[in-house]
Symmetry: C2
DNA sequence: CCGGCAATTGACCGGTCGACCAGTTAATTA
DNA sequence: TAATTAACTGGTCGACCGGTCAATTGCCGG
């Protein structure tokens, strides 16, 4: 006979967070009810309140957890793409694009956070962007990239282009002549890298 | 003494649409109540149902109206920036950026639509993007822009970079070394235009 | 092995939501 | 001007929301 699962508050919290993440990211925090989260995570509504206090606190915990995992993944990616110079930049764009491609929920989570003017997401990746900008500055000083562009803006440009590509995918899919993920990435990289080449 | 306002269903509809637009764009469709919209537009809740049927239908009407006005404004802008060649492209980016700068609600309305997977926004500007892409194609054939890039992707790149700049403004504001609207626009234009210059 | 505490449950509460409806008023038309 | 239609109002309903609470269960240190 199936025993009732042994008590494991950490696992319970994790299960609630996981179910809540899925629902929140998919439907938005306002449209999800505590009852849905309870049903999806296999616990009682009261238990969610016991562990997280309120719906808003749960949503905050979900975002904090999500942003943390995002930042950790990106940091690992940035350190893995360690080849210096312009190859590093091209690799970074490629890795960032692939990351969003494989984690569509991340784009949506950021979008929800932006719409509700939650700037806590900035804390998650500010240090990461600073690190990336530093690498670009080094490449500029080495003469590999043109040096009349703010390094942080270099990061911002490719982050914006890639992120919004996935956020507005269904929208832009209706534009005449639009290509696939791969074709867009290829074209963007051409323009981006050529635009950053040292000036003659 | 103040007469009760003469009946004017068109004006009433317009007032409801305007109030609903503001509230929906600011808080998102799920967070806004019919009672709020009624209070903000100075009519009864029942009257909104009379004119629009349901909350969802009202939100659809708001989006449709918003997208239409957006597309009309953009079309006017595109036709105004009629100088051919690479100047046209630079002007288009500039005008698009300024448009979003002056209409922050548009960015948010598109973001809400994207998050709820409403692809009706694509119908609004598909023709417009097609027109822009055609101009770029002509510039490519004239040798003013490099011709190994999908023209639609050229549009997409600058639309993404500009739109997400405003959508994630509060987020990116926390990034170290980030600049102002003007500084970002300048840097983006440098990279973008240089990246699209004909190859040697 | 027992006493305390956290994990967990189900019933329940006040409040608010979107929608509906019967009734009233003003414009339109025949 | 009588009749018809559409604009508009106030009141109300059932559903469902987030949150609370007393009671129960299982773990774990003394």
């Amino acid at each position: 006979m199936s025993q009732p699962a042994a008590r494991d508050p950490d696992l319970t919290r994790a299960r609630i967070l996981e179910a809540a993440l899925d629902l929140f990211v998919e439907q938005g925090p306002a449209a999800v009810t505590m009852r849905e989260i309870a049903a999806a995570s296999g616990v009682t509504k009261s238990l969610i309140h016991h562990h997280f206090g309120s719906k808003e606190a749960l949503w905050s915990a979900v975002k904090e957890d999500g942003f943390l995992r995002y930042a950790q993944g990106q940091r690992a990616d940035l350190e893995a793409a360690s080849a210096p110079g312009s190859e590093l930049l091209e690799n970074s764009v490629l890795r960032y694009f692939r990351f969003l491609q494989q984690h569509p929920g991340v784009v949506r989570m950021f979008a929800w956070a932006h719409l509700e003017k939650d700037d806590s997401c900035g804390e998650a990746d500010a240090a990461l962007v600073g690190l990336g900008a530093q690498r670009i500055r080094e490449a500029q000083q080495a003469g590999v990239l043109r040096d009349d562009i703010n390094p942080t803006h270099v990061v911002t440009i490719f982050v914006n282009a890639c992120t919004y590509w996935f956020e507005a995918r269904a929208h832009h899919a209706q534009w005449p002549g639009i290509g696939s993920d791969e074709e867009f990435l290829e074209d963007f990289l051409k323009v981006f890298m050529a635009g950053l080449a040292p000036r003659p």
